[in-house]
Symmetry: C2
Subunit: 321 residues, 2 copies
């Protein structure tokens, strides 16, 4: 019988699990709530218990698995199998992950950070179509990313490879970023960034606009509101979306000219705007990429949604094959 | 006896050759003029004859070599071992390179483009200190580059990986680039780009400046003049150099945030300005890179000069080891 993979996508609210074939077909999926109490000390035991329970349920044994891969927030030491600084898990101090899981389950275990793992998922089984060179941008609460070149993740010298959200796209008078710099992509293309941009631009907009009215009226405005109103042809909302897409197109141009990937895949909540977003990013990408890159590097929407994490995590375990 | 490598750095004026140990120590060096007459049809035969002659001279035989690597201008098909569109060699049409060389010399042969090969040289034996993640920018007539991640060159899907010179660093009102886009790094940081920037900025400069006088006087001005005058504290020249370094620091910031390489190595003629250039690029890099990247990615000057080509070319042949 062909051996299987286990993928774990660990987040601050839930941990998602899947059992997959070595080709990345999901066979079983489940999830458990993440218990972050007591410095997150329950998380690893809960993961172990959940896998043990499921293997019993499915009547499977450790030797039927190639390995387990996991994506996690925080700073990962891939060699030691530890995590530190994962604040939404309450893992402030160094947390052993690989050692206790391997000891309890007797299955080889490996891990990487969640943005990298989502990138691997999209590259392997999603929009990247298993190409060797794929860049991934995720537009959520923050802007993250992952870079795959020659079939492998780029971690760089200290694991900060793929910090796409901190590319400076507004070098003059950019917004202050949480990282300490100014003008990072995250300050204008994350969910909060889109709203921040709308608020700032609204001060100078004079025409009629529902979006401007909502802002001036002190109503709660989300990035989805901005995109929905743009689709509904609110001129001010359209100008905000155009600016967001200018920044994204510029960042994609840099990625393209440096790496010439087959695909730049855009995922995350803000990308729910779909083709409406994509065609505008594409137009700016065409302007900001070297002609050979414009022709050969495709800008695409992510395809796997929430499943990118477990699929990409599982693919990490292919090193044990 | 340990087997050797041959590295060839083919240019429009000369072809440089070296015999190296498998560790990259140069043991013999020579060069021949490049004969670009008759559609460059003499180039490959001349390379073959020169290597045969030298092997005789040194009393060496084919089986003493691991392989031959070559860097060349133009678009390379690495699989087929062909080159096309190398205009300074007069290779406009598809040129067979690997097949005739391997047949005549009976030594495995491989090739890549000259910017990639120079990057490999600096990564292996130069400023990159054999690190797995190195980015290389060369500031010459144009601005080229090469990207090494996880120990391998990044070619991308059509070989346009490393087109660092075409990163758009001036998205608004940038200079027209030969590539068809506007605001590319090459338009402001190549030898001609630096002078173009000086000419444009001189129109708005009102103070006293030898550089401005030379430009207004219609004198020939080189990028070296701009840097020399800046070193001599010409305030206008300093403002031009500052702008060039701003663009370079921004581009290095993008490279750093995407790849977090251990080193970004700057070479080529314009980098002869040395530490004077480097410290100004570093200051802008600090502003435009994610803090973890600022701390871990070093900006360095290239160390191998003209020898980067033959050394990097030779390293290509290590695949035959």
């Amino acid at each position: 019988m062909d051996k299987k993979l286990i993928g774990i996508d660990l987040g601050g609210t839930t941990a998602k699990f899947a059992i997959l074939t070595a080709d990345g077909e999901i066979q079983q999926r489940w999830s458990i709530p993440t218990n972050i109490n007591d410095q997150g000390s329950h998380i690893v035991p809960d993961i172990i218990a959940s896998i043990k329970h499921r293997l019993n349920l499915y009547n499977m044994t450790s030797d039927e698995f190639i390995g387990i891969g996991m994506g996690t927030p925080g700073t990962v030491d891939r060699e030691l199998g530890t995590v530190i600084g994962a604040y939404n898990l309450n893992w402030r101090e160094l947390q052993q992950v690989k050692a206790p899981i391997e000891e309890a389950l007797n299955i080889p275990f490996t891990l990487d950070n969640d943005a990298n793992v989502a990138a691997l998922g999209e590259q392997w089984r999603g929009a990247g179509e298993n190409s060797a060179d794929v860049s991934f941008i995720t537009l959520g609460t923050g802007v993250g990313g992952g870079i795959i070149t020659n079939g492998s993740l780029v971690h760089g010298v200290t694991g900060a490879g793929g910090e796409i959200g901190h590319m400076v796209v507004e070098p003059k008078d950019g917004f202050q970023c949480t990282c300490g710099r100014k003008g990072c992509l995250e300050t204008v293309a994350s969910a909060t960034g889109v709203v921040r941009l709308a608020r700032t631009m609204s001060e100078e907009y004079a025409g009629d606009s529902k979006l401007k009215f909502m802002i001036d009226d002190g109503q709660e405005v989300s990035s989805k509101d901005v995109f929905d109103l743009a689709v509904a042809n609110d001129h001010f909302a359209l100008s905000v979306v155009d600016k967001v897409c200018y920044y994204l197109g510029l960042a994609c141009g840099h990625l393209g000219n440096i790496l010439n990937p087959s695909d730049i895949v855009i995922g995350g909540g803000v990308s729910a705007a779909g083709e409406f977003l994509l065609e505008r990013v594409q137009a700016y990408f065409n302007e900001f990429s070297y002609p050979q890159v414009t022709e050969s590097t495709q800008i695409k929407l992510a395809q796997l949604g929430n499943e990118a994490g477990v699929i990409g995590a599982a693919s990490l375990a292919l090193i044990f094959k």
